[in-house]
Amino acid sequence: MSRVAAVRRLVVRAPNWVGDLVMATPMLEALCAAPRFERVDILLRAHLAPLLADSPWVDRLVPIDSSAAERAALTQLAPDAIVLLSNSFGAAWRAFRAGVPLRIGSALSGRRILLTHAVVPPTLGGRRLPVPTAHLLRDVTALAGVDTPELRPRLYVRDELVRTVRAELESAGLGAGEEYILCCPGAAFGAAKLWPPEHYAAALDELCAETGARALVGGGPGEEALMNAVAGMSRTGAVSLAQHPRDLERLKAQVAGARLLLVGDSGPRWVAAAFDVPCVSVMGPNFPELTASSLENCRVVRLEGLECAPCLERTCPLEHHRCMRDLPPSQVVAAARELLAGASA
């Protein structure tokens, strides 16, 4: 029996971050559609499952809420192979401990020895070079014998939810039929990725004055203070959604209906890519090379020439946070103008 025929049941361990999960959707789709596998299950953190609601593979989702639950799920599913789209050591370790025969993933986080099939990303002097995460996910998926047709993220949202969310936004203050610019200023990664709220407010004010659109400020759990701060500093009546229903499913509908998304280097950027919504992403401590995919409708704005950047730290170790504080709103506005001009051309 060929190696391919021997793998009938496959588990895909999805990434743990919103952005990485959205980037992985083309690979999830390709793996679920591959005719060689009798069964494909997708293991993912339970709180991320709403992001994949309405997708064609929703019935393949196996939400997990702890390491013990993950190991138990693997034992019960007893797959022939696991594709690790999460780069964590823990995911590889649990697959190894659960006795999954073939473990396919990237050789990162010190887990090479736990893998039967591994991708070693490009290096220089023995150190990993930054490459787009989407490329790495595709490479790993290809080790399972499945090619990904394209890297454009795939998200789905039902019409009923779109209408519901629109109604919620209008009850929050958006005019009937009014266009809006959505701003998501938060960053679960850490404070180092936060652009100052006054900068967001200034950029939104200028863009709203130019476009006639309304500014809405959204975010995730725990980001209410930041959302309110941005809206409070706006002089054009930006509306904070802090007191309104918010979750990952609603985020999809909110982003899909926006004229523009203004966001940091965080998950909603990829939601915008999935729905072809123009997006300006403000980046500070991260390598732009790590997210250099789906740029057709996105502009990444960052401060060039800083010796300390990028640092990949969650909080600024030098305590000046210049990579974000010194990034002027005018640069963000210029990028947004370029995108909107291209969208209307």
């Binding site: 060929s2 190696r3 391919v4 793998v7 060689r36 192979a81 073939l102 396919i104 050789a107 090479r112 893998l115 039967t116 099939h117 591994a118 991708v119 070693v120 990303p121 490009p122 290096t123 220089l124 070079l129 930054p130 490459v131 787009p132 490329h135 595709r138 490479d139 290809a142 080790l143 399972a144 014998g145 090619d147 990904t148 047709p149 394209e150 890297l151 732009p288 090379e289 250099a292 995919s293 740029l295 057709e296 990444v300």
Partner: protein, 360 residues
Amino acid sequence: MSRLRDGDRVLLRMPNWLGDFVLAEPFVNALHERAELGRGATTLVGSARMLGLFEGRFPVLERLPLRVDEPENPRTWRGHDAAIFLNGSFKSVVCAWRAGIPNRCGLLRGGRTLLLTGGGVPARERGRAALGRGRKGRRPRYLPRPFETVCQELAGWMGVTIARRRPLLVPTAAALAERAERVAEVGVDLARPYLLLNAAGRPGSAKAWPAARWLELIRRLQGGSLPLVVVSAPDEDEVARRVAAEPRSGVHALVDPAPELPELLAWTAGAAMLISVDSGPRHLATATGVPAVVLYGSTDPRHTADFLTDQVALTADVPCAPCHRERCPLIGDRHLACLDALTPEAVVDLVRGSPAGSGV
């Protein structure tokens, strides 16, 4: 890493293979945008024949076309601050070093690593062979990856952002005129869409579908709603010549001469669909948005696994493939097993199963 600085004059050594050349177009476009913004000039160095595909585009980029067998000349490369190598040649890197270009970047493979100042060691695969991919490669087992991926990453390490990933090529007015002339000769009705068959392949190559298979495919497709246009490369035109020698209604062969690249691009851009082996012309279809059915023999689909939403791959699940060899090392029943397993019936099914070929 050796990121480009504002004002750096860049020399971009283009790939020598047609497919890679086409897939590098987004990188060229990004450098053109950089030059238009006044951030530094770029010179393209590459085959004159292939640079012709950019005729009429990238007006602010300089070109140093290389004729066949013309060596690279360090004197013409002087004055650049950085050289980026999209080809794999050691000689090109030596030329840049002799020209005094201080920043020399590319993939760090083989002996040229000693002369490169930046870039990266390519991604590798470890452990067992990828599922369904046949044999493991030889060490150090560089990971087969789409060339546009490599370009994107190399550009990123240099500080160049490639926003448009998909290659784009546009036939020139002259090429369209050449096509129109040829149409008059061979009698193709351009008012109807046509299927373009790239029946090329060096004799004995492990990428070349046998001529008998092509002729069988043509027999099965002819008489359908779409006429067939058969093209090939010079010296790889056995199928096209046999088609031309036995005229059939609705089947046209472009021979004597075989179309040059600009004309071939024009024919590709106007096709309803391309059927091709895994060779350079299939990337012309990618760059013109034309759907394609691609036959893989010895090559690994991972090398070209991008922009596949309008391309369908036909591969054979044989234990020895992909081996990525030019000549099949096996004998007897296993000789060219990867190509033997690709049947004309399967190709016809794929063509008819696609939106573009549903009327065939």
